[in-house]
Structure formats: structure tokens, C-alpha cells
Symmetry: C2
Subunit: 287 residues, 2 copies
């Protein structure tokens, strides 16, 4: 299957990300329908003109007519949905998702998908500090990475379709990565950084902190306002890898603390120089 | 002494911060001279019109004629300078600084200052990710905090003068704080966050990290490019307090790691909610 404008797209879960997908794809000329929990999200999306139709709960007709189904729900909700409703998916349908953990979801979902349909996983690395379809915007894709996460079960055709979806959504960069490497990367780059930001906010409750705060503390805690239901689930679904990354961080942090206590300025300055050198790579303009 | 436009200001150390002070004060109409190590910094500052005169090394006449001397040098350089040249300071001179650690410097400097002169310490919480007078700009003061750090030895007159200096430089907010509370705050808000950013960069040397990096990792490591000579000195001059803050962080981080490993989602979500609530305070518009 190729991603042509006549293809019918169904989005399951019309929150911030699902709504932003709907907006981007409707703008591009696709017919986008949606299934979600709340009628008010559907009403908003219809009013905003970002979906052609929508229903609450599960709708057999919408599922059967869809060429491409995009799940924008929590990892466990995705698995539960598939366990309950897999029989409604017709052969030839391509299914993708947006979940931020892969080892936990991809193999389970692929084992549930009916014969003739295909699940190709993806992780759009885009978000905002607010939730809900009311905050949806395709602006969040413009400088972001889109990761396609295939397994051995996937066809090249479905992988290419998923990459094309990333391009149509407007992502700046599209890459392929295995589920295992994805979870390792995400544990380090995203989950560990959120764990650190939350920890920093939990360390100190002085009311006058705000008066003395400079840019560095604001930078390190910008992501400290998080949706605890979602992040708890992301952490728990990737817990072994996240715990491993937290251990690496703790050991490296302890190395610096020991150098400080012992007055080992050689080690401390070497760590600072390594940091400075490596961080420069992240400033390079992206292709 | 009051800060009137006829007062003669001498800046010792013409780097990024000293140069930015020179620019702001010259624009306001003060006569600003400078002593610094390199002739090229003086040449640049004269060309740029941000100082009226400058010399390398120590100049007895410039020191004797100054009403206000501002030291913009490393903490240990400040102490060494004062030990070597204190006899050149005339009675009535007010002296201030910009150093980021206070317990280590303030009491020593105050004990070295000759009779009739006064040292009132300050910490302008402003900076850039680059060094040198060539990068000086008074823009860095506009949204920043200026902390005046008096001891029992200071007169109210000198404290008010120092606060007026912060206003003349264009700082958004001026506060008074004790040396001990300052060092505790700085250890937590600035030094700990730099130690975390450096640690993050030292954890992982995968060359393809950049391809998968989202905003959160960039946020947490924006400050990871640091001048190792300066930060090593700041860390070492505040090492007990920084080590204490690193311990508090490690204990809180370990609490989250334990909750993750044990599947204690109640504790994990409670930490996330605490984080979210506290972080909101930092978004409020500042007065």
C-alpha cells in the first residue's frame, strides 16, 4: 500500500498528539476520522475542521473501512484495545502508533494483529507541555525527529509507508531504529532527563528559590511539569532499561562527587572538558 | 558615598562580565577605567568605546583615584590581588565583586581591606556561553537577578550603593542575602545543575545520540559547555555545600529509582505531582 490521498485514515485516541496528526493530515488533503473516549474532543475536532467524522468508543464500520489506523493512546491501552477488537481489523490494513516505549508493545501487538494486516511501529518525538486535542498543532512536528521502529516481521512496503507518513506530517528528520536500541536511547535521552528534572524539583521546597533562580535551573526543570499518569506508564513499561540508565548516571555523578570531596581537580576538569567537547556536537545545524 | 555620575569607576578584570559592566556604566555616563591582564582586551574595549582608559597589570594611580572598584576576576585571583595590593587602596573607596561563591571570599577580603575603605560583595547572576570582552553586552543583565551579599561589617550606605549599582547596570531584580544562604542557594540552583549537565554528557558516547535527541536532553545539557578552569574553581571554593546538595539530589534520585524497581507507582506518581506543582511557581511572571 502507498500513502495516496484517497486512503482512509482512522486515528484512535484524539488527544494532543492524535489531534495534531489529524490537523496535519487533514491539511494535506486526507480524509481523517477518529475514535476517542470523549464526545467533547470529537465536537472540538469537528468544529476545528481537523476530522471528517468521529465517534466515541469502538465503531466496527470505521475500523473496517480504514486503510491506515494510527493509535495515539497509552501503551497499555493499545494492547488492551487490540486484545478486545483485533477481529474488527480487515486484511490489508496498515496500523501504526505513537507510543514512547517499544519493546513492551511492538512484539505483543504484532502477535495480536490478524493475518493480512500489518503493524509498523513509530515514535514521533514531539510534544508540548499541555494536553488535549484543544492544544493540538502541527507546528510541533517541524523541528522534531520521527522514528520508525520495524521488526523482522515488517515488510519493506509498510516501513516505507510509515516513513512517508512521517514526511507528510512534516517532521524534520526520519530514521529507522530497532525496538531495543529505541528503548535504550529513549531511556537515556528522554526518561532519564525527566527523572532528573522531577528529582530536582523534589529536592528543595524553599519558597524563596524563585527569587534567586537563574537560567540553568529553569533549563533543567522546564520538563518537570509532567502528566504523572502518562509518565508513570512510560517509566513502568521500560523499567529495566530506565533503571540501567539511572545506574549509569548515578555512578558517573558519584565519580564527580568523589573528585570534588577529594579535591581531585584533574578528574573534575577532565569531566568538564569531555562534557564541553561532546555538547558541541549537539549545536551543529541538523540536515 | 552615593553613586553619582562624577564618581570614578575602576574595573579589575575585563572579561565577559567586566566588559559588560563597562559597557552598561559607560552608556549611563560614568567614567570607567580598567585594569586587566591582556593588552588586546584593553585595545578592544577602547575601540568599542566602553572604557575611557586601561592598563595591564596593577596601576597605583588608577587605583588611588577610583571611588568604586569592581573586581571581575576568579575568587582566588581576587584574594591574591588583595593580599598583594591592598596598600594601594585609599580610604573612602568602595569595593565590590562579581564572584559566584561568597563564604570563601567575603570574610577574607573584608579582613584585608584597609581602614576607611569598604568591601561590599555582590553576585550578578548573568552570563553567556562564551567568554571575553569581545562578547560583552549589557543585554545579559535585563532579565537577571543581582544579589547583594552583605556581612555585619558592612554599612547601610555601602549596601545601598551596591544596590544602586545593580539598578544602574539594568538588572531586573535586586535582592539582599547572607553569604551562607547565598552559597547554599548557588550550590543547589547553579552548581548542582552544572554538575548534573556535565554528568549527563559523560554518561554516553554514542555517536548517533544526536540523531535521536529531543528537546528534553538539549534543555538539560544546554549549560554542559563550561569553562573548566572557572567552574572547577567555583566548585572547589564551595565544595562542602555543593557536596551536601549533591547528596540530597542522590538520595532523592535513589528514592525514585527504588520506586521504579519495586513497581511502587504510588511513590513515583507522588514525586511527579510534587514536581509539577512546584515547577508551576517558576512560571509566574516576575515583578
Amino acid at each position: 500500500m502507498k500513502l495516496t490521498k484517497d486512503k482512509k485514515i482512522l486515528i484512535v485516541g484524539l488527544g494532543l498528539l492524535g489531534g495534531s496528526y489529524a490537523m496535519a493530515l487533514t491539511k494535506k488533503g486526507y480524509t481523517v476520522k477518529a475514535l476517542t473516549r470523549s464526545q467533547s474532543s470529537i465536537d472540538y475536532a469537528l468544529d476545528a475542521g481537523i476530522i471528517a467524522a468521529g465517534k466515541t468508543g469502538v465503531d466496527a464500520d470505521m475500523i473496517a473501512e480504514a486503510d491506515l489506523i494510527i493509535f495515539s493512546v497509552y501503551p497499555r491501552v493499545l494492547i488492551e484495545w487490540m486484545e478486545a477488537n483485533r477481529n474488527l481489523i480487515k486484511p490489508g490494513t496498515v496500523i501504526t502508533d505513537v507510543t514512547g516505549v517499544k519493546g513492551y508493545t511492538v512484539y505483543r501487538i504484532q502477535s495480536l494483529i490478524p493475518e493480512g494486516a500489518e503493524f509498523i511501529s513509530a515514535h514521533p518525538m514531539a510534544g508540548r507541555e499541555c494536553l488535549g486535542v484543544q492544544n493540538a498543532t502541527d507546528e510541533i512536528f517541524k523541528k522534531a525527529n520521527y522514528l520508525v521502529v520495524p521488526t523482522e516481521k515488517n515488510t519493506e512496503e509498510a516501513i516505507l509507508l510509515c516513513e512517508e507518513l512521517g514526511r507528510e506530517l512534516g517532521f524534520a528528520r526520519i530514521s529507522r531504529i530497532s525496538p531495543e536500541r529505541h528503548d535504550e536511547m529513549i531511556a537515556f535521552l528522554s526518561q532519564l532527563t525527566h527523572a532528573i528534572a522531577v528529582t530536582l524539583m523534589c529536592c528543595n521546597d524553599s519558597p524563596d528559590l524563585v527569587d534567586y533562580t537563574g537560567d540553568s535551573f529553569r533549563d533543567l526543570t522546564r520538563i518537570a511539569k509532567i502528566d504523572d499518569a502518562m509518565w508513570n506508564e512510560l517509566f513502568m513499561c521500560n523499567r529495566d532499561e530506565l533503571a540501567r540508565q539511572m545506574d549509569v548516571f548515578s555512578e558517573t555523578f558519584e565519580k564527580m562527587r568523589r573528585a570534588l570531596k577529594e579535591g581531585d581537580t584533574t578528574t573534575m576538569r577532565q569531566m568538564m572538558r569531555t562534557s564541553t567537547e561532546r555538547r558541541k556536537l549537539f549545536d551543529k545545524p541538523q540536515n
